[in-house]
């Protein structure tokens, strides 16, 4: 129920029985006609459902208690607050400092309600609900209390709504419409503070407890603090230290007013001009649920969207602020490199003819196709089908290493699930830095560490974590020690109830990958990590395309294929090592940004980015999700799979699909799990990954898979904001 509705309910006269009788004669709805005449006045109780369709989690079904919200009985688990009880009863309590995903601050006092037998109004966010409590949310007492609080809050609030960035999506604005007084009694001078420099992402203005609370709780970086007391209070980073956290952008969402707003978005657009498209993020393997807000043909901002299983309601800074990369360095015309080494724009017709002709000139085994880290399943399927029809089987996805294991699904996805990590009590991170590889997974681990005091240990290069973490070693030999039971960590692991091992996908590129994985497997076996009721073996992937590529079987025939290649089809692949490629090889680059891959290319085919197409992606936990187009593509660019489909026809090996639906039914024959959208498909069975590996582990220590959190793919590398962030990161 909206606040406006709540307010109007206060004014609206209650329907009486007599009035119903009068109305009856003109009502034509049959169900009303057949109803019994309302002789006994029933309390006006519309059917109530929890707010926003919320599900209620009962940790212990026996502990349910019953409270009454506005006379309506609700069953809630013991320990919930009054505010939560009201939410279950479908009553939206106005609030500022309370945020459903942060711990309770209890300092704004906006959520006052009346509780029977309580002498004063009660701050519902901090008050635990007791059995039989009678809560009244729309009595004159509650309303007057809120009005008083609102007056105090507006006392020092600047009167800049017309130019404030939060205007139109401000809780304070909305709630002052419902509860604010129509006149002010404040005659003193308003307090003002100077803009602070919080780095390239956020700017700030005034105090509000929740923001501070949020940053400390969520980011785990104690950068912001409250200076002064009373009306002298203001938010400041200690000595204006810049906010350097990979989740700092979320304070923009947490802040109920315009105190902290997005700097790249500042003064660019108004929220009522924006069109929201609910889609997913592809800058890492988490697949955070996002909403792309666009104005006309332009992406204006990216905000998170609720998904309890993946990103809750947060997103990383890379996801949030990479969007300006979508507007820079774009490829918009098909281009062919002439004899002078310069690119010349040509028509699609000509460029496809050239590519098809050359593809027929080389031997099938000299053809190679590489899918990039942002590729969707549809285009990877088309690429594989096209190359197979041309006779080549050398097609893979970058980041999966020279000899990926695509046979056992449990060997490359996060078997516990991102949500399931909250049940673990011991984490062993092998060659991975979740903080930069998948910030949302790291947030889950951090939540678990803070919530249930889970222990975390890691093997890999020394890194900074935002939670307590034990460093066990740097390389494979530590892993062997743990596997053989010689390490002190073994006892922690075997005593754990739900141990979780997270292996980084950066190890895929190592030559001793199989040996490392068999060592990890030995640890899993000793620590009883994989049981029928708990699968704690996890691989944390790096890129959005990886899981789907392995599901579709994009595996190279030989690991040396690139040395003998004569025709290379790069589908957005920018991080492939092309040094070993023969000089006379013909390189086709299909992608949306002029990035690393373009400089070696002979032909450039412009494709659409993730914000402009429909595509299927599978995230690191094996959950299939789809992007939806939010904005039109630039210039002459086309969807990836459509380009390959057109090329196949020109080359005379026509692929048998020409709609998204048709290509998805083709995918169904290969990997049916890619069609069950928004469902997490767990790996069906667990078997030994490999017969005992013959290769020995090398002593080279693990490397960091990602050097720069802010620049991992062609979109983020084109982004100016990301460049500023990484410059700050380097300066530190």
């Amino acid at each position: 129920m909206g606040l406006g509705l709540l307010a109007s309910r206060l004014i609206r006269p209650q329907k009486t029985a007599a009035r119903n009788l009068l109305l009856r004669s003109i009502v034509t709805k049959p169900e009303l006609q057949s109803a019994e005449p309302a002789t006994t006045p029933q309390p006006d109780l519309p059917p109530r459902t929890p707010l926003a369709g919320a599900r209620v989690h009962f940790p212990n079904p026996d502990d349910a208690i019953e409270v009454f919200v506005d006379g309506y009985p609700v069953k809630i688990p013991k320990g919930m607050t009054v505010l939560q009880a009201c939410e279950v009863a479908g009553v939206d309590i106005p609030r500022f400092c309370y945020h459903s995903r942060l711990s309770i601050a209890g300092n704004c006092r906006m959520c006052l309600v009346e509780v029977e037998k309580s002498p004063k109004p009660v701050a519902s966010c901090a008050m635990p609900a007791l059995p039989g409590m009678k809560i009244k949310t729309d009595t004159p007492v509650a309303k007057k209390a809120r009005e008083g609080v609102m007056e105090f809050l507006l006392m020092n609030h600047p009167l800049d709504c017309p130019i404030c960035d939060q205007g139109g999506e401000c809780d304070l604005q909305d709630q002052s419409m419902a509860f604010g007084s129509d006149r002010g009694r404040f005659t003193e001078v308003k307090r003002s503070v100077v803009d602070k420099n919080l780095g390239p992402l956020c700017c700030d203005m005034i105090k509000l407890g929740r923001v501070l609370w949020g940053i400390v709780k969520l980011l785990g970086v104690q950068d912001l603090g409250m200076l002064g007391r009373g009306s002298g209070e203001e938010i400041g980073t200690y000595v204006e230290k810049l906010m350097t956290s990979e989740l700092s952008g979320n304070v923009i969402d947490i802040c109920p007013v315009g105190a902290l707003t997005s700097k790249p978005f500042a003064f660019k657009a108004r929220n009522w001009e924006l069109k929201g498209t609910e889609t997913i993020d592809v800058t890492d393997a988490v697949g955070s649920n996002i909403r792309i807000d666009s104005r006309g043909p332009e992406v204006m901002r990216i905000t998170p969207r609720l998904n309890e299983d993946i990103n809750e309601e947060w997103i990383s800074d890379k996801t949030r602020f990479c969007y300006d990369g979508l507007k820079r360095q774009r490829l918009n015309d098909p281009m062919i490199r002439g004899a002078d080494g310069r690119f010349k724009a040509v028509s699609w017709h000509d460029v496809l003819a050239v590519v098809a002709e050359i593809a027929h000139q080389v031997k099938p085994e000299e053809m190679v196709g590489i899918a990039g880290k942002l590729s969707d399943a549809e285009s990877m399927m088309a690429l594989k089908d096209f190359l197979n029809k041309m006779g080549s089987n050398n097609v893979w996805c970058e980041g999966n290493g020279p000899s990926p294991n695509a046979d056992l699904r449990s060997g490359y996805i996060m078997n516990t699930g991102i949500n399931g990590l909250e049940n673990a009590d011991v984490f062993l991170l092998v060659g991975t830095q979740p903080r930069v590889e998948a910030a949302m997974v790291n947030a889950r681990i951090r939540k678990t560490v803070r919530g249930s005091n889970a222990k975390v240990a890691y093997v890999g290069p020394p890194t900074e974590f935002n939670y307590d973490c034990e460093h066990l070693g740097t390389g494979p030999e530590t892993l062997t020690e743990i596997a053989e039971g010689r390490h002190s960590f073994c006892s922690t692991l075997s005593n754990a109830k739900n141990p979780a091992i997270i292996v980084g996908a950066g190890l895929f590129e190592r030559s001793d990958k199989d040996a490392i994985f068999s060592a990890v497997e030995a640890i899993a076996k000793n620590g009883n990590v994989v049981r029928p009721d708990w699968n704690g073996f996890n691989v944390l992937l790096l890129n959005a395309a990886q899981a789907a590529a392995l599901d579709l079987g994009l595996v190279p025939e030989s690991s040396q294929s690139i040395e003998s290649a004569k025709f290379v089809y790069l589908m957005g692949a920018d991080d492939v090592d092309l040094e070993k490629l023969p000089n006379d090889a013909f390189v086709v680059y299909q992608g949306h940004h002029g990035d690393r891959g373009v400089y070696r290319a002979n032909v450039v085919l412009p494709a659409s980015a993730f914000s402009e197409k429909e595509g299927t992606y599978e995230n690191t936990e094996g959950c299939t999700q789809q992007t939806l187009p939010a904005v039109p593509t630039v210039g002459d660019a086309r969807d990836d799979w459509k380009i390959i489909r057109a090329l196949s026809e020109v080359a005379g090996v026509k692929l048998p699909y020409d709609t998204v639906g048709a290509i998805r039914s083709r995918i169904k024959t290969v990997a049916p799990n890619l069609l069950s959208v928004e469902e997490r498909e767990p790996a069906t069975f667990w078997a030994s990954l490999k017969p005992d590996a013959t290769q020995k582990t090398s002593s080279t220590p693990f490397k960091a898979a990602i050097e720069n959190f802010y620049m991992t793919d062609s979109i983020t590398r084109a982004s100016k904001i990301m460049a500023q962030c990484s410059a700050l990161l380097l300066k530190k």
């Binding site: 043909p297 332009e298 507007k327 820079r328 360095q329 281009m335 400089y599 070696r600 630039v634």
Partner: protein, 159 residues
């Protein structure tokens, strides 16, 4: 009576400046245009006996004669004698001329904001190609704007 007074004034100025200067003044004041332009002639005749209230910076003269019919008692004689139009009246005099206010343009000019006001410009529609406004994206606008909201990759580096 006023006609004799006027003729006397003319005789006085011929005597003071000489006949050639008098003719030049006649021409500058637009008396020659009156021969072809009845409207101007009518204004000139109207001016006789009226009170000159003020002259704006463009040289337009504002007259008032309270003896004439009510509603036709304020008028302007444009400085430009051949191609005059109503947009040549600056905003400060507009109000006085159209009976919106009794304050003359000179009085209102003292209230004119210094910081953000811009100079009055007459409407030049139909006065030539160079005076026509072209939208920002129009190819005839010298600072033609490219509305493309993305920046394309420029192939600069060679192999």
């Amino acid at each position: 009576m006023s006609i004799t007074w006027n003729l006397l004034g003319a005789w006085k100025s011929i005597r003071e400046k000489g006949f050639g200067a008098f003719l030049r003044e006649l021409k500058d004041e637009g008396y020659l245009n009156c021969l072809a332009d009845g409207n101007l002639l009518q204004t000139k005749i109207h001016n006789i006996g009226a009170k000159l209230i003020g002259v704006d910076k463009f040289g337009n003269k504002y007259y008032q004669n309270l003896e004439t019919i009510h509603g036709r008692h304020r008028w302007v004689e444009y400085a430009e004698k051949s191609r005059y139009n109503a947009s040549q009246v600056p905003p400060e005099w507009h109000g006085w001329l159209h009976f919106i206010t009794d304050h003359t343009g000179d009085e209102l000019l003292m209230l004119k904001p210094k910081r953000y006001s811009i100079e009055h410009k007459e409407n030049l529609s139909g006065e030539g190609e160079e005076f026509i406004y072209h939208s920002k994206g129009h190819s005839l606008n010298p600072g033609q704007k490219d509305w493309t909201r993305y920046q394309s990759w420029q192939p600069t580096k060679t192999k």
